[in-house]
């Protein structure tokens, strides 16, 4: 299960992407994003900061300041967002490349049967989720799209 925090992050990104798609996009305040995404403002603040540090969004201070999307939606990888907000996505730490951690009790990774079976699942899973971006979320956006999609 993805965390509530991740849901807020995705909602915020959707709000920012929607704004960026407007004719005259403006920076949105945390408050505005919180309202539109129905997220707790003070919590969202930290999430946006993480997104900013990852250079997914950008912010300006002072009057008329706020946040806006920095990367193109097609370049915002869902799996990267998951890693950023929720941490490693591998089912086992010993299968994560970026957050690799050996199991305490592991005598031999090469012969670990748990590792082996989850490795198979994980590679297939990665193949799918690594291909998804914020743009994919936007595409399935409107009700009209939904109806067309079902036809």
């Amino acid at each position: 299960m993805i965390t509530q925090k991740m849901k807020y992050a995705l909602k915020a990104l959707l709000v920012l992407a929607d704004e960026a798609a407007q004719p005259a996009p403006e920076a949105l305040t945390i408050e505005a994003i919180a309202k539109r995404s129905d997220s707790p403002k003070r919590f969202l603040e930290h999430i946006l900061l993480e997104l900013r540090n990852a250079q997914v969004v950008t912010s300006t201070r002072g009057r008329a300041g706020g946040y806006s999307l920095l990367m193109a939606p097609a370049d915002v990888s869902i799996s990267e967002m998951l890693r950023l907000i929720d941490g490693p996505i591998a089912p086992l730490a010993c299968l994560s490349r970026r957050a690799y951690q050996r199991c305490d009790d592991c005598t031999d990774e090469a012969t670990c049967r748990i590792r082996k079976v989850f490795a198979e699942v994980f590679w297939s899973y990665l193949l799918i989720i690594d291909s998804l971006t914020l743009a994919d979320m936007l595409r399935s956006g409107t009700v009209a799209d939904q109806v067309i999609g079902k036809a």
Copy 2:
């Protein structure tokens, strides 16, 4: 990431499956399973109880009592074990069939863009993980297998 509890459960199942594959299989005490799987005995106790309630393993009390595998390894679904031990495997509660829960703030599931994108990932993921069983873990068991598998 799967929990430590799930790791213990899988290790215990492997121990029991290995025992079941012996010429003269015997019931194994919690202590024996704990030792062989390097799991905390008192914690393992609860795990085995859950597996027993799910009729994956069986137990006998008293002298010479202990646990043994009840289901055939090929019938022990890894995804079912995940559901049993770690809870729902869906990325969102609103995508889980057995543990379905509507999101508090959700106005319309049919048009939720987060739900839609994770639904796609999830169905593909399910396809993979639902096909895996304890038997698959056993197959990739020995070092010899590993070497052959690589060839």
